[in-house]
């Protein structure tokens, strides 16, 4: 079960669907999720929206055997930290057989259901990763 509120999810939706983050043109750093301010440059930061290619590699991962509510059917499943080729890292479910997982493996994004608030609630969609 995803406990995030509908308005909170909706505000982040485009970023989640299309991996849109921010790029600071002052210090050339990329951020995901998007930032309102560059933590390095502060007031001097120049931020623009940036769409990540979605290509990345697995920094580390863990196999979940005892799932949170709403994910029981999917166990065992893989949660990984993906380092995007532009720099930033994010946590995501990795759609792969746990036995095929390797640190450093290349991944690409796919559009999947992230969860739902309940049987009658909203369905949350967004990006997960699969092995290249």
């Amino acid at each position: 079960m995803i406990t995030m509120s509908v308005p909170r999810f909706w505000r982040k939706q485009v970023a989640r669907y299309n991996l849109i983050g921010t790029h600071c043109t002052n210090c050339k750093t990329y951020y995901y999720p998007p930032r309102n301010m560059c933590p390095k440059c502060r007031r001097d930061g120049k931020l623009e929206n940036f769409k990540f290619s979605g290509k990345g590699e697995i920094l580390t991962y863990t196999v979940i055997h005892t799932a949170a509510e709403g994910f029981e059917k999917q166990t065992p499943y893989v949660l990984g930290i993906v380092k995007l080729e532009e720099g930033p890292s994010l946590t995501s479910q990795i759609v792969a057989d746990p036995e095929d997982m390797k640190i450093g493996m290349k991944v690409r994004p796919v559009f999947r259901k992230l969860g739902e608030s309940s049987e009658k609630g909203m369905i949350y969609y967004g990006t997960k990763f699969v092995p290249e």
């Binding site: 939706q13 485009v14 669907y17 299309n18 029981e72 059917k73 999917q74 479910q93 759609v95 796919v110 559009f111 999947r112 259901k113 992230l114 369905i123 969609y125 997960k128």
Partner: protein, 349 residues
């Protein structure tokens, strides 16, 4: 002004179940089913895949194949009989995920297995009238058959997206004409809130599929003054392998003409995606100048026939997104227990 296919994209989930495995569970004779249906295996969606995710993947491949700016898309129509929400469009999810929003119109279509071709026809009208620049027409389904029902052997998952435009230099295929034949026929239905469809048994073949497919197909050829021999390829809605093979033979098309588009033996029936998947698989190997004839069927009931001529553009963009054969390659086979979990047939508390 003419209308044409500017791009196409297909998507099939990675998992498959064999007819033998389903037959094993229900004690049916797998060999007689396989030869009767001409289906050997079918696609199964992953836990986190539904009609919306499949439609998005197909639409993204269509945008990628042509390299068009998605902001040019002025309409998104998704045809399906398994939209994830009863109220809330699938098409807005797709439009957002391909970055076609916000200056555009969108709606979802339902007409059993021909909702996707109805979306193509709508986009043809909109681009030819100049109301929109490009239209995105999708047919996608995660079809459900009740456990133990005959439909369970074929009900599959997949989707296809077509980008329809009116600029001839952008066409990979010209849509020369379309023709529909529609009557009110109760051959197959699903009531609101019911998980699985019902069908009229033997009533589904003659007065449903064959009547509407042959009337639509003959109607289009009469309107255009063409005959089966004028076409290099033909595609008919494929709920199984038998029906399109028989429809082709009734109409005078050969086995060779329907072969590239007959994807059902290794895929199953993708419902709204079925005929469009056959067209996509045919475009995957057609040459410039080839003519393709296609007829979709939707229970309820109606047939939509189309005549296409492939242009030089096909060679240039065909390999910029996966072909249907590439999508069907390298499957992961699952057993019935895993399949039931994927499809939510076992409801966990």
């Amino acid at each position: 002004m003419s209308a044409g296919i500017v791009s196409y994209g297909a998507y099939v989930p990675r998992y498959r179940i064999k007819v033998d495995e389903i037959a094993r569970v229900w004690g049916d004779d797998a060999n007689s089913l396989k030869s009767g249906l001409m289906v050997h295996e079918k696609s199964v969606p992953d836990f986190d895949e539904d009609t919306a995710t499949i439609a998005v993947e197909a639409a993204r491949y269509a945008v990628k194949r042509s390299g068009i700016n998605a902001q040019r898309i002025g309409a998104v129509y998704t045809g399906s009989e398994s939209h994830p929400y009863a109220v809330k469009p699938t098409s807005t999810i797709v439009a957002e995920a391909v970055e076609a929003t916000p200056v555009m119109t969108a709606a979802d279509y339902e007409f059993a297995c021909k909702a996707g071709t109805a979306a193509i026809q709508t986009c043809m009208g909109l681009v030819q009238s100049g109301m929109i620049d490009l239209g995105l027409a999708i047919g996608a389904d995660v079809a459900q058959g009740a456990p133990g029902d005959a439909l369970e052997y074929t009900a599959a998952a997949g989707g296809v997206a077509f980008i329809i435009g009116s600029k001839e230099t952008e066409f990979l295929a010209v849509i020369e004409d379309t023709y529909s034949f529609t009557t009110d026929t109760p051959d197959f239905w699903r009531r609101e809130g019911m998980p699985y469809p019902e069908h009229g048994g033997r009533f589904t073949g003659e007065p449903g599929y064959f009547k509407h497919v042959t009337h639509a197909a003959k109607g289009l050829m009469a309107k255009m003054g063409t005959k089966p021999g004028d076409y290099d390829y033909a595609v008919f809605h494929q709920p199984n392998g038998k029906f399109p093979s028989r429809a082709a033979s009734i109409l005078g098309f050969t086995k060779e003409q329907i072969k590239p588009g007959l994807v059902v033996p290794k895929l199953g029936n993708t419902y709204s995606g079925s005929c469009m998947m056959g067209i996509a698989a045919t475009l995957d190997q057609a040459k410039p100048g080839d003519r393709i004839f296609a007829t979709a069927f939707g229970s309820g009931a109606g047939g939509d026939a189309f005549s296409f001529t492939v242009t030089d553009k096909i060679e240039e963009i065909r390999n910029k997104a996966p072909t249907v054969m590439e999508l069907l390659a390298d499957p992961i086979y699952v057993d019935y227990a895993t399949y039931a979990k994927h499809k939510g047939k076992i409801r966990l508390a």
